[in-house]
């Protein structure tokens, strides 16, 4: 980032190449809309680009970048447009197929049933994550998918490390309850 600050355009390209996928995935899991996630990710990188001259290496670059991304995501989630999509049961989210049985003819291709089960399972997990309060969801996504340290996540979410761990515990407890049927299946599978 210091090279970007010095005006090196190649370094900005490297930053973009390294972080665009994690940022888009984080935003996608927050707002549940791929196009909106890409728009927000562009906004994140634009803000990084605009602020490059004022960047002070007091915090890690990832902390700074994900703080921008988190703030944008939380604002977007609070926006009614995304809320409507979030709580719509009838309309599945972008990239997620309907859970309703849509296969009427038997398909004899091997693995298709397994693939459908996997999709249903992924949709079930995604819905459980979506039911978490916004801050808990951001904490889980940053902890589980970005694998950031506690101090980094705490700075991004502007809370203490102990408060963060408490938030994470409550979020995982909620998910444990929500995903109890899948967990029971997993335990049964291990025992079998």
């Amino acid at each position: 980032m210091l090279d970007v600050k010095a005006g090196d355009a190649t370094s900005f390209e490297l930053l973009l190449h390294k972080y665009r996928a994690p940022v888009i995935n984080f935003l996608y899991r927050m707002v549940r809309d791929r196009a909106a996630a890409e728009d927000l990710a562009q906004e994140v990188f634009l803000r990084v680009y605009r602020a490059r001259k004022e960047y002070a290496p007091s915090a890690k670059f990832t902390t700074w970048m994900f703080r921008i991304a988190t703030n944008l995501a939380l604002n977007a989630v609070r926006d009614t447009r995304y809320r409507q999509a979030e709580f719509s049961i009838d309309h599945p989210a972008d990239g997620e197929e309907s859970v309703a049985p849509s296969v009427s003819l038997p398909d004899r291709r091997p693995g298709i049933e397994h693939e459908l089960m996997q999709r249903d399972r992924a949709a079930f997990i995604r819905r459980a994550i979506d039911t978490l309060p916004e801050k808990q969801r951001a904490a889980v996504l940053l902890h589980k998918y970005q694998e950031l340290d506690y101090d980094e996540i705490a700075k991004i979410l502007q809370c203490s490390e102990s408060a963060l761990k408490s938030t994470l515990f409550r979020a995982y407890e909620t998910l444990r309850v929500q995903l109890a049927p899948l967990l029971a299946q997993s335990q049964q599978g291990i025992q079998d």
Binding site: Y49, R50, A122, S186
Partner: protein, 155 residues
């Protein structure tokens, strides 16, 4: 058993970031507490489940769109560029200032001088000794020589 105080420690333990002493404490608690033992086991399964979530790839147009947006970004201004006025404004202000200085340096234009005193004004000046004689002004006897005012007619 009240397990609230173990919340943070369980997360650190599950992440493998607990110190040696902390880890031993948590393991001792887990051995004694069936609820936390189940919790740790299920948290492990849950974290494995979350790993199954598919990731999305950036679209082909993402980079091109971002580059296009960056290309139209105005260049950041330096401190001096922020302090100094733009050349057109500086030129206009200088011209205005020069014009004002030139205007103020011009000699005053010859205008119509003070008007000559009129005849009435001369007469008033001649009457000044009478007007300033307060004895004459305080004598009201001359008013008695005025004709009486006619009485109003009642209808």
């Amino acid at each position: 058993m009240n397990c609230n105080r173990w919340e943070s420690r369980l997360i650190t333990y599950m992440d493998g970031k607990a110190s040696g002493a902390e880890r031993r404490e948590v393991e001792a608690h887990i051995a004694a507490c069936a609820a936390c033992r189940t919790r740790v086991k299920e948290f492990g399964a849950l974290w494995g489940m979350l790993d199954e979530m598919p990731a999305v790839q950036p679209s082909q147009a993402f980079d091109a769109q971002l580059r296009a947006r960056i290309a139209v970004e105005p260049a950041p201004k330096s401190f001096w560029a922020w302090i100094l006025p733009p050349p057109r404004l500086a030129f206009s202000v200088s011209l205005l200032l020069l014009f004002s200085v030139w205007l103020s340096s011009l000699p005053p234009a010859p205008g119509p001088g003070p008007a000559a005193p009129t005849e009435a004004e001369f007469k008033m000046i001649n009457d000044l000794p009478v007007l300033e004689n307060y004895d004459v002004l305080a004598n009201f006897e001359v008013l008695s020589e005025l004709p009486p005012k006619p009485a109003p007619v009642d209808r």
